[in-house]
Amino acid sequence: MTFNNEMGARLWRLAIWVFIGFFIINLVGIIAAVVVDSFGTSWFNSWLPGGFTTSWYSQAWSSFQLGGVLLVTFEVAGAVLLGSALLGVPAAYALARRDFPGKRFVMLIFVLPLIIPPFTYGIPLASVLYKFGLGGTLTGVILANLMPSVPFVIFILVPFIEQIDPRVEAAARVFGAGTGALLRTVMVPLLVPGILAALLLVLVRTIGMFELTFLTAGPGSQTLVVELYYSVFAAGMRANQSIDAMAVIYMATSLICLVIALRFVDPTQIVGRAKRTAH
């Protein structure tokens, strides 16, 4: 009986590790297929390409005008970072420190953009932006990407702020600091790790945010991920290796941001915010 249980537990453990291993191997395969192909000369009916070259990168760079696309991507990401910090940090402070009637309603308004998928609210959002002449412009793309980022920053920062002792602030108040001075000289320095973590996650999310950019961007305001979508969509117009070279550039950009972000935050936070907010 004990023997059977022991065997069953072992088999169960083995099955779980086999699944994890299988998942990771396929994940590596999916990514490696893109990287290997982007360096290959021609690759048809064989395990690896016939030869290796870096010419697809220069070709992708010129034919997709990647310099301009990368510039747009970082302009959007930079503006979204700045905007979500300016709007999100003060709001998170207010939500962490004050209880007021209607707080649950405010929380609900902030949760909804995070749990409703962007494609559901993206079309009405885009039609509002087009109505005000912002559709298809860089400003429109920035506003659309900023929208879910502000609540995202708020929900990451609220627990950070709650764990700071309110007596620190009370002491500053006693010495005559107003709300502005309090935020500038006491709260922001204490919150730098939290703000940094939240903004890095916003950066990773903005670079990868396909739906909202796709629905609001026009020519000249497309970010890297949208450009990638269009080139995969029109596969056959260009060599697959050229598309893969562009995919590798996109992958490198977002993975570098991810690696930096992971130095400061736990991976579960990237999806885990939903847990805190969904209650």
Binding site: Y121, I123, S127, Y229, A247, G272
Partner: protein
């Protein structure tokens, strides 16, 4: 004169601000306003505007013309079922795989390595995963090659430009999402509860059935809902990896088609609102079912 007019008003105003402050409204609370107004302007207002727009059809024909059009055209309303047929199985599979793995992994020392690997597909997003899967799962890709090498199949199986491709891409992106949520719920369960049950002679299955499952129930329902709404709004992988005019013509494609290919924002908004309504209905059914199955403290040990 002015001074006299202000004097009686000043204490009145002070009292009002004091009264407001006692209820929680002061300068600090006002810091909330910019963010709230911003989200109101770009989320709440578009939602209301979208509803208004959907009730004012581009081609006339009464307020409900768009909705009548949608529900009388099989090519349009079938997208609801196509999407449900994809989203519900994918979400269930992701959830069912996540639970045993999360239960196993919570005892692991190098948990962080695994979560770091799993966050990669979430970060890279569906567009890159789609391009990778087109290469990897294609008829000449490594996956088919390995299966043929092992003698499992004799000719390449069709995995992309079909329902399977979209299904698999939803697992590659959705499983890590589910797993991390479930893991954060599982780690919230006090391990001493399980030790106590084990000491009293409960086997692994009994411990799962009587301790883990009741404590995890609400968390699993929330995870299901969050993962389901994401899967229901699938767009890029359904276009790139699937057959967007046939078996994977999901509702997001119908919404996009109306708004951006027929330039009918009114119809596009109507489809987006139907999409949201279906998501809300499923979420409400799941939450209702989970509250019927388990009533009691959501978390905590003494329940």
């Amino acid at each position: 004169m002015q001074g006299m007019a202000l004097t009686p008003a000043a204490p009145e105003r002070a009292r009002l601000s004091q009264r407001l402050a006692r209820r929680g409204f002061d300068v600090t609370t006002l810091l909330l306003l910019p963010a709230l107004l911003f989200v109101m302007a770009l989320f709440v207002y578009p939602a209301i505007y979208g509803l208004w727009l959907s009730l004012h059809p581009m081609n006339g024909g009464g307020a409900l013309a768009n909705y009548i059009n949608f529900f009388s055209d099989a090519y349009k309303y079938d997208t609801i079922f196509t999407t449900l047929k994809l989203a519900i199985p994918v979400t269930l599979v992701n959830l069912l795989i996540s639970v045993p793995i999360a239960l196993r992994v919570r005892h692991m020392r190098y948990q962080r390595i695994l979560t770091t690997i799993l966050i990669i597909p979430v970060t890279l997003g569906t567009v890159l995963t789609a391009q990778g899967m087109l290469n990897y799962l294609g008829p000449l890709g490594w996956f088919n090659r390995v299966l043929m090498l092992l003698g499992i199949i004799h000719e390449p199986v069709r995995l992309v430009h079909d329902f399977t491709g979209v299904f698999l891409s939803q697992i590659v992106g959705g499983f890590p999402f589910c797993f991390m949520l479930v893991l954060s719920y599982v780690t919230g369960i006090d391990p001493s509860l399980e030790s106590a049950a084990a000491m009293l002679g409960a086997g692994p299955f009994a411990r799962f059935r009587h301790i883990i499952l009741p404590l995890l129930g609400a968390g699993l329902a929330i995870t299901f809902c969050l993962a389901f709404v994401q899967a229901f709004a699938v767009f890029p992988s359904a276009v790139l990896l699937g057959a967007p005019s046939g078996p994977t013509r999901v509702i997001a494609i119908a919404a996009f088609h109306a708004a951006y290919e027929e330039y009918d924002y009114s119809m596009g908004s109507a489809v987006a609102i139907i999409m949201g309504a279906v998501q809300i209905i499923v979420v409400m059914l799941v939450m209702k079912a989970s509250s019927l199955l388990y009533r009691g403290p959501v978390a905590g040990g003494k329940g």
